[in-house]
Structure formats: structure tokens, C-alpha cells
Amino acid sequence: MGTLEIKNLKLGADMISLSIKPGMIVGVYSRNKPAVLLFLEQVSGINENGGTCFWDDQNLFDDPAYFRSRIFLDFSKPCPSTLRAGYLKERLESNYGLNFDSEKFAKLVRDLNIRQELLIDYRYHFSEMGNTLTNFAMMASLDKPNLIINNPTTGVTKNTSAEIIINELCDRQKYQTVILGLDNLKVFQNRLDLLILIGEEHSFVLDPKTEGLMAFRSNSERFKNRICSGTITVTLDGYSKEELKYFEKQQIEFQKISAFDLEVFR
């Protein structure tokens, strides 16, 4: 079991450091989607990280040991062009050297009703939800212990399907570390150990179970640790009683919010 260490990685305007130990589920969220993708490409070892990301104390860029144990998928990208489990198994094994459980894939295709999400003529045409579900079914049928998944629930409108995806991704018995580029914060409430917020002004790593945010219906120089500004300014929650009294005196409306409500205060 390995530990993923990030030391002084530049994320937006800030440097972040964190340690992702076995059993941890980490979410990354930003309105700036390319920033999330850039981060995931660095922690997956696909692109250079400038000596800031380590797997068992080794720089994980192009590291064979790390690569053997992890998979990086973007569920919004085109999924495999077939639901034929046997054919998919043969393709994944011969082209990518992946171990694929075709029975599990076939079961997930049935449980998620993926066939309702596609049209077949001379090839398969998936709906956006069908595309995500197929990518998910493929990922869940592989045997990689470390996951890096971008847009895990994109286009999924059925609650039951979303629940199956979330339960699988948050299965701490099955997966060692899971890093998710979140397209929907709310559905992962109470499921994450760490949340990385890449804001327009600052980026933060927080424990969403103990740390929250503050939303202000105003803008003031007294606000600190801003994530985003505008009609509503969102910052980390870390103000003293005196500071809160000052805001009340100034008739600045504010509200403590959960990190998972960030999207609501856009």
C-alpha cells in the first residue's frame, strides 16, 4: 500500500501540500475545469509535476510501480464503443495489458440499464448518461487499487445510478486511494476525507467534515482566504468573534456554509 505525497504543488495562485494515505477519498473542485484536469494529470503521473508529487517517496511522473497500481479516466470522454464484455476484455487485455472482469461488467450493464441509454445502428450511440455509465462499468470491472477519475457523475440524472457510482468510488475496502475531479459537489457530501478547492483567487485543502466556508453578500477588504469574489464572496470559515461582530455592524450579510454548498453560491 502506498502513500501519495504532494509537496508545494502550484495550484492556481497558491502552493498546496497534502498526504493521501491508503483508504482516503479526495475530491478536487473548481469552476475552472482545465485547472482540475491539469492537477489530475500531474497526480496521475501523466505529465510533469516539477518534483512535487511522490508515490512511496518516488517522484510519480512516469513511475512504473505507480502506473501499475493506478488508472486515470475521464468519464466525460467517449466510452468504449461496445457493450460486448468478451470483446472488450480481449481489447483491454491485448492493447492495454489490463485485467478485466467481463462478468462484473455485464452485471453492471444490466443493473445500470445502460442499454436504455444507447441507440444502435452500424455503431453504438450513447447518451451523455450512457457514456458516463459505460465508462464507470468499465472502470469498476478493472482491478486497479488507485483511482483518479475526472467528472465521475457527469450527465447522470438518475439518483439510483448516481448512488451506485458513488458507493463504488467510495468503497474503502476495494480501493486504496481515490482522487475525484468533481463535476457535482453535493452528491459527494459526507463521502470525502479531503476536498481541494481551486478558487479564482486562492486554492485550499480542507477537511470537509470539520471545516466549512463563509458566504458574504458583499465584498470587503476585511475578507480573508477568499475562494471567489463577486456579488457573493466565498471564503474559508476562520473568522474571530470580533471580525464577525464587525461584519454585523457593517450590515454585511453572511452565512456559514458547507464546502459542498459552494456550487449554490455561484
Binding site: R70, G86, E90, K144
Partner: protein
């Protein structure tokens, strides 16, 4: 795995396909020399055809590998170093096959035609195969638009045909191509270990 799947997997193996291509090429070369010489036609054209196919399929394969497939492979867990090593091994295997074809052609030419032929021209073909494959890899790494690749493909194909038909291919052109191959393989390696994909 059923027996049908085993047969399919066998024929999809790169080295099996390369061997089949090689055997087919041997047969075609024999046919070209024996029959084309019998009717007084030029047998060279078939060997150009074989090398042309090998060179331009190498260009397209290399471009596709470095432009799109490398990303999928790294996401699935193959390292860049392994991908480049596999690619170079395949390229060397292809070149080895093409050199064997040349040797076979020389032997048959001597036996059936009994004439001196242009060695520089024959060396030029495997060199060009290597050069075009590496060029495809480089352009894929630089994310050249596919439409521009096809434009370049057409220009290269036309240019190569003109060179082969109209110009004397000298020893120095072969050396220049060898130098180009060495530079390109170095540049490609540098890009694959450094560039964002």
C-alpha cells in the same frame, strides 16, 4: 477464451501480422522479378510499392500513436518509457524485415536478371521508411492537425515518387537520411520524456 477468440488474438498480434506481410512480400517480389522481367517490364516498381506502403503506413501509425494513443496508454498504466521502447522495437523489427526483403530482392535479381543494380537506391528505401515513421511520431507529439498530416502525406508521396523516378539517388542522400533518422530519434525521445501529452 474460445478457440475462435484465440485465432483472432493470434492474427491481431503485431509480430504475426509482420511475418505474414513479410511472406506476402517475398511472394510478390518473386512474382515481380520472374514475370515482369519475362515481359520486359521494370520489376523495380513493385519493391518501391512494398517499401512505399511500409513507409507511409509507418508514418500514419506513428502519428496516431504519439498524437492520441499515447494518452490512452498512459492513462491505462503504461509508462512513456515503455511506450517509446515498444515503438522503437517495432520500428527496428519493421526495418529488419525490410532489410531482409532487400537482400532477398538482390539475390533474386542476380539469379533471374543477372544485372548490376543500383545499391544506393535500395539503401534509400529502408532509410526513408525509418525517417518517415519517426517524422510521423514527431508530428504526432507536436499535435499537428490530422488534416495537415494528410496534406503533408500527399506532398511526401508525390515528392518521393518524383525523386525515385527522375533523380539519381546517391550515397550522400542515404547518409543525409541516416543523419536525419538519428536526429529525429533523439528529438522524439526528448519530447516523449518531457512534453505534456
Amino acid at each position: 477464451m474460445s478457440s475462435m477468440q484465440k485465432i483472432n488474438a493470434f492474427f491481431k498480434n503485431y509480430y504475426v501480422q509482420l511475418t505474414l506481410f513479410f511472406l506476402l512480400a517475398l511472394f510478390l517480389i518473386l512474382v515481380s522479378i520472374v514475370f515482369l522481367e519475362d515481359i520486359g517490364a521494370n520489376s523495380d516498381i513493385l519493391i518501391y510499392n512494398i517499401f512505399g506502403t511500409l513507409a507511409f503506413s509507418g508514418l500514419l501509425y506513428s502519428f496516431h500513436l504519439s498524437k492520441t494513443k499515447i494518452r490512452q496508454l498512459t492513462q491505462a498504466g503504461k509508462t512513456r518509457a515503455d511506450i517509446y521502447k515498444d515503438y522503437m522495437l517495432r520500428l527496428i523489427a519493421s526495418l529488419g524485415v525490410s532489410v531482409l526483403l532487400v537482400a532477398y530482392y538482390i539475390v533474386l535479381f542476380k539469379i533471374y536478371v543477372n544485372e548490376q543494380f543500383d545499391y544506393d537506391k535500395i539503401l534509400f528505401l529502408p532509410m526513408m521508411t525509418l525517417f518517415l515513421s519517426l517524422l510521423g511520431f514527431l508530428l504526432g507529439m507536436l499535435k499537428m492537425k490530422t488534416v495537415w498530416l494528410y496534406v503533408l502525406f500527399g506532398i511526401l508521396l508525390g515528392g518521393l515518387a518524383l525523386i525515385v523516378i527522375n533523380f539519381q539517388i546517391g550515397y550522400y542522400l542515404d547518409l543525409a537520411l541516416l543523419l536525419g533518422v538519428l536526429i529525429l530519434s533523439g528529438v522524439c525521445y526528448r519530447l516523449i520524456v518531457r512534453k505534456n501529452i
